[in-house]
Symmetry: C2
């Protein structure tokens, strides 16, 4: 186990970038320094010396005394371009950009293989929870059956406050935006995209299956109302936005959907911006990891832990994926292992019946109508959910039971 | 990252040994085989072929085609002798024997250094929870402030059943022994020794401090009564047997004592044989790991994960301990960092006041007397707890608040 000096070129100095800077300054014994930081906005006041900053990405990418690029910018396309260039230059990369990773996973995996460089991203799923490395290292020979969890801090923060403060979605969202717990455009978070990107990454490390974001259905809490919170409350349940990746028989299922969870679940008491991941294996049984899912320092500390791992040349071994790719199998074949044609039991709140027309409803177990709200509890063909996929005009609130 | 073939010599074929055998048989892609198993009892019927077994330890220790010894026997002294011999022969060892590790940590650490062999022991603390490797790898540059948890499945199983089934300690213990959740001599478990051994190991990997078992005060649930359970219940609390290792100011504290925990705590809902560990860091904030703490397959899977790590020559780097040993510091100096002279707030149930005479009580906040039971809530000098340490005749039930 070596103890390399790490010289970092950092892209982005937002929330996580500044968190990393703080954490790095307080960490003991790690031989890592930030040499240069590339940012966009020339006029923004920053709390550290101006000589650290550059506005030209090439100044970092072309510097040859840097051995790690840490990419922490918002824009996934720009991030991809930076990460690609760095890897093609033979430099290892640490990132927390789940959107960029999910949208380009196949290419990013191939770039690692081609250039023999590390791309590690613990901060991209579960915030401070060390889930990716645990799936990769600790559970590598476990017959895992399921990985699921509360992966998005914004959704959990909103759901928690709605329930505990008896408030409407819109009010809590506005407040969350003011407090830094929701983005000004919250769509990717609240509609379950962010949860899905993370689910995609967990699926790679748990099962060795690479999907694209379009392969994974997502719906979120964008249409949740206080009625739904109340429905759950009266039954001793809570609504939690979950990413699910699981093995059922010989097939796998992956989706990002709100779920009712009961008091017995370890997820029930995971509140506000906390995240949690439940891992089920044939032998280790159920394990739960809980920790802060968002925020400058928790994510910064996950990124730091990746940097620290690079001091001893750590790389993901992708053992399960490599096993899946043995023989003539291609990365694209992973999708063949995914099952779409199965019944899923859902609570669906709607305004008028017309809204349900695109769903293949197999059976209705309960139906409730009132002047305020209507809902059904129904078994729906999962496949038909894709008919309402990513349509902002759709006003259904869907919650798995 | 290599992919060595592992040929295992196994000592012990009890609960965990058989669990390992099962898990290994079902694991995919791991190049590890059990070559020979050393057991004691020649007459016991075993579920696998007799040719696997030997009754002579030298037959395993002297075999030169084995590259890993897995030690899973009960007797800590015999285990130590086996592990020492194996390491001196240059063979890596996997063990789950927390008593052996705790009692001989200094020597075992030095043997690793001297012989440049691995000694890994994920199964020794937290059962299936990957806590040691996470402390070692993931939190290596975190400013950790506290590691504490429910580390003993037997205690948690008994406490859970007493509360949920309104039963007395003696009845539940008897039942636990019948069900395999408690040993025929349960003292090491119920009196908090097992929790202490694990706390000692967590203290090494969290803070780089090596203690001996006598340095860590322990008391357990050996004297718990249904009155105590009721006291907790009426206040919305639960009693949990905790191992605690924490930094307070410049000093550290380590002990193994029952605690009241409230509904807000992640530990509250950890029931029966489940274990949980809470890690607090300056930047990652609070993280909780929950999983099965005991049992054949969960512990077997932790042992398997260690074996798997040996395929790429994994060793604990002991970064924090190595840092502590820089300069002229010796392992024995670790104790200097531990604080004993501080007030701790305790609930103490007693029969007559005489029993409290050895405790230095600083102040009493509450006092309750009845024909059945008496208790005080008091601030006690922690140091004075050692006066009642490991005395089976002591009938106090002590619980931290």
């Amino acid at each position: 186990m070596g103890n390399k000096n790490i010289t970092i070129g950092l892209f982005g100095f937002g929330c996580v970038g500044q968190g990393l800077y703080d954490v790095l300054n307080h960490s003991q014994g790690l031989k890592a320094t930030i040499e240069k930081i590339c940012v966009k906005d020339k006029n923004k006041k920053r709390k550290i010396d101006a000589t650290f900053f550059t506005y030209d990405r090439e100044e970092i990418l072309k510097r040859d005394n840097l051995n790690v690029i840490v990419e922490l910018i918002d824009n996934a396309d720009e991030a991809f371009s930076i990460v690609k260039d760095a890897m093609n230059n033979g430099v290892s990369v640490v990132t927390a950009n789940k959107k960029m990773l999910a949208e380009n996973f196949k290419e990013l995996y191939e770039l690692q293989e081609k250039n023999n460089v590390a791309l590690i991203y613990e901060g991209s799923a579960g915030g401070s929870i060390p889930i990716i490395r645990n799936l990769e290292e600790y559970y590598d020979n476990e017959l895992l059956s399921s990985v699921k969890g509360i992966l998005n801090g914004t959704c959990n923060y909103i759901l928690t406050r709605m329930e505990l403060e008896n408030k409407d979605y819109g009010d809590v969202l506005k407040d969350a935006q003011l407090n830094g717990f929701a983005e000004s455009d919250p769509w990717l978070d609240v509609a379950g995209f962010d949860t899905k990107f993370k689910t995609l990454l967990l699926t790679v490390h748990a099962f060795g299956i690479v999907l694209t974001p379009d392969d994974i259905f997502n719906t979120g809490i964008q249409n949740v109302s206080y009625d739904d919170i109340l429905y759950a409350k009266q039954r001793g349940l809570r609504i939690k936005m979950l990413g699910v990746s699981q093995k059922v028989g010989d097939k796998f299922r992956a989706y990002s959907i709100p779920h009712f969870v009961d008091r017995e679940s370890e997820l029930f008491n995971v509140l506000y911006e906390y995240n949690a991941v439940e891992v089920e294996g044939a032998f280790s049984c159920k394990q739960t990891f809980v920790g802060k899912g968002a925020g400058s320092h928790p994510t910064g500390s996950a990124v730091l832990s990746d940097i620290s791992a690079l001091t001893y040349d750590y790389k993901y071994a992708y053992k399960k994926l490599k096993k899946a790719l043995s023989g003539n199998n291609k990365i694209e074949d992973g999708i063949k292992q995914i099952e779409y044609d199965f019944p899923i039991k859902l609570y669906i709140r709607f305004q008028n019946r017309e809204e349900l027309k695109d769903l293949e409803i197999l059976s209705i177990e309960e139906e409730y109508k009132s002047t305020n709200t209507n809902y059904i509890i129904a078994n729906v063909n999962f496949n038909s959910l894709f008919n309402i996929f990513n349509k902002r005009e759709n006003k259904l609130f869907i919650c798995a039971i």
